[in-house]
Amino acid sequence: MDLLFKYSQISEDVSLQDDKVVLRRFKELEPIEDAWNKWLSTRKELDDAIPMLADPDPSMASLADEEVSALTETLSTFLQSTFPSLLLPPSPTAHLSALMELKSGVGGSEASLFLGDLLRMYQRLVNNNTMGMNWTASVVAQNDAEGGGVKDATVEFRGEGAYDALRWESGVHRVQRVPATETAGRTHTSTVAVVVLPLVEESSPHDGEEELFTMDEIKLEVMRSRGAGGQHVNKTESAVRLTHIPTGITVSMQDQRSQHQNRRLAFQVLRSRLLDIKLQREMEARRDTRRSLVKGADRSEKIRTYNYAQGRVTDHRIGLTLKNLHSVLEGDGLHAFIEAVGRSYKEGLLADMLEEKEK
């Protein structure tokens, strides 16, 4: 595979738009080429070192012995982990940003308070740049609860890889603690449901992908009556509701003073939900990935428990418990969970692929 030759052809052969696709493909293949080149050079070093084992000088022979075992070690690492992980197809969603929807579940006002805590946790994860990804986070919609906390919220995470990393946060998050409002000191259990959707830009060309909807399929409504309306009324009423008729998906947006902005945001959420459906469908169609997805696919499933009394966090999908509750809520400890779940997903994919091969 002569990537350099292919690369030199890019600018001559194709238009700028096609360049992007080819360049992305090139970038995806780069790790494979790197690994293969390193494998070849290590093999060469080993071939050169083996004759030295027979050196009449015992100190030289012992040096050669050390080198041979080190190189053998490196080569087996390549065989056991580097190459297998490269077998995984590159993620088709690697470039996508993410849209996260949080809804308070059981537990009443305590669930709303916990939702506020989770919201801060995710904002800190991004602001501290713990993942080293330079994402940005912004809250696009937020419905505050009367008794403090947040009833529901929608957050945008912009940046490459945001969707692939954060999609493992989808599911039910459970908190066990004594609420600030509880006088008798009893521990309560409350939940927040999180859904992470892929975020697509309105303006970005979809690399030849088809549009997710047409305007004929959309019903756009304003909400609430304005009585006589016009000059008679100056109350701010900027809420809008979109309905995607074929799927019945509705999106309401009322957080901005500008109806124009609410409409733009509602379309953005709709686009994310439709792309999410499309991706789920594609995943299900790929039979070989089905088994490993069972763990993450059901969004009504309890995925994680935050236990305040014991200062621990448990991820139920991978059975990982860490005594780092404080660090997780500050955003820094969270990446350990995100990475562990992502790793487990990759291992599952690989196991499926190997199983498929054996059949």
């Binding site: 937020q142 419905n143 505050d144 009367e146 403090g148 409504e221 304003v222 009556s225 304005r226 006589a228 309306g229 016009g230 000059q231 008679h232 009324v233 100056n234 109350k235 701010t236 009423e237 900027s238 009322q254 957080d255 901005q256 003073r257 500008s258 109806q259 124009h260 902005q261």
Partner: protein, 285 residues
């Protein structure tokens, strides 16, 4: 502190609206768009002052316009029909058009059109009886980057010019304005509230917004009759001109008839607003 403000504002607006307005107030403070404290804002809101005057701005399509009492606050109904009008015409820099807006207030209608149409495609002229409104409209034009006249550079630009006059007066239009006629588009959101409805208006409108932007005699139709006289006698309309007039909640048929009776128009239509009210009369020459 916050919960006390929320409780008082909720009693006036209901909790969902109070929560939203508090967040918008806080956002204006956080972005340093306002020097007021949250408590001051809430106190003024409890006196029925419109949120828009407290915050000093009102979104209008993609624009964020300045508002100042007592100049009429741009309404979402107006935003809607002005946007539809912008989409239904397509002037170009090669074939620019001349526009007249009667009773411009904040300047919202012509400024939105200047913003949405391509550079160099429209010369907008805005009339108002209130010098205060015209100052605001000019400030908004500056905010939107629309100059009052071409600056001599080759770059195509839309322009926005204001004229302080009373379009009900006998001597309207002034020679300076007439020099820019004929007009391809005339727009207006004239006062249309009859006095019986005027005295029933909510205090946020009645006590804060300019009576001269709202009140229109006993029928609410005075200004439409004046506009009909203007278009039939004063040769203001270009050959295929279009007139777009906002009307009150039950005036569409009456105003459509007034415009038809001028005999100046080939056809008329009524546009409905997003809340289901017949809101705009479109008359085409």
């Amino acid at each position: 502190m916050f919960s006390r403000l929320l409780a008082t504002l909720s009693s006036a607006l209901g909790t969902p609206q109070a929560l939203r307005e508090l967040r918008w107030m806080q956002a204006a403070i956080d972005s340093r768009a306002s020097q007021l404290s949250l408590a001051d804002m809430v106190a003024r809101r409890l006196q029925h002052e419109p949120l828009q005057y407290i915050l000093g701005t009102q979104p209008f399509g993609p624009l964020n316009l300045l508002v100042r009492p007592p100049v009429l606050i741009p309404r979402p109904e107006t935003e809607h029909w002005a946007t539809v009008l912008a989409e239904s015409l397509s002037p170009t820099a090669q074939k620019p058009i001349s526009l007249l807006d009667l009773g411009t207030g904040s300047g919202c209608i012509p400024l939105l059109l200047c913003h949405l149409w391509p550079p160099g495609s429209v010369k907008a002229h805005a009339v108002d009886i209130s010098p205060h409104a015209l100052t605001l409209a000019q400030d908004n034009a500056a905010l939107c980057g629309i100059p009052s006249q071409l600056d001599g550079s080759k770059k195509p630009q839309n322009t926005f010019t204001v004229f302080n006059s009373d379009f009900l007066a006998e001597d309207f239009p002034s020679p300076a304005l007439r020099a820019n006629s004929p007009f391809d588009v005339i727009t207006s959101n004239p006062p249309y509230i009859p006095w019986k409805e005027y005295i029933e208006l909510p205090p946020s409108v009645l006590d804060y917004e300019d009576r001269r932007a709202l009140l229109a005699g006993s029928s609410g139709l005075d200004f439409y009759h004046a506009i009909a006289r203007l278009v039939s006698h004063k040769n203001l309309l270009a050959p295929s001109a279009i007139v777009a007039l906002e009307v009150g909640h039950n005036q569409a048929c009456a105003v459509e008839t007034i415009m038809r009776d001028t005999g100046c128009f080939r056809c008329t239509e009524i546009w409905t607003d997003p809340w289901g009210k017949q809101r705009t009369i479109i008359a085409r020459k």
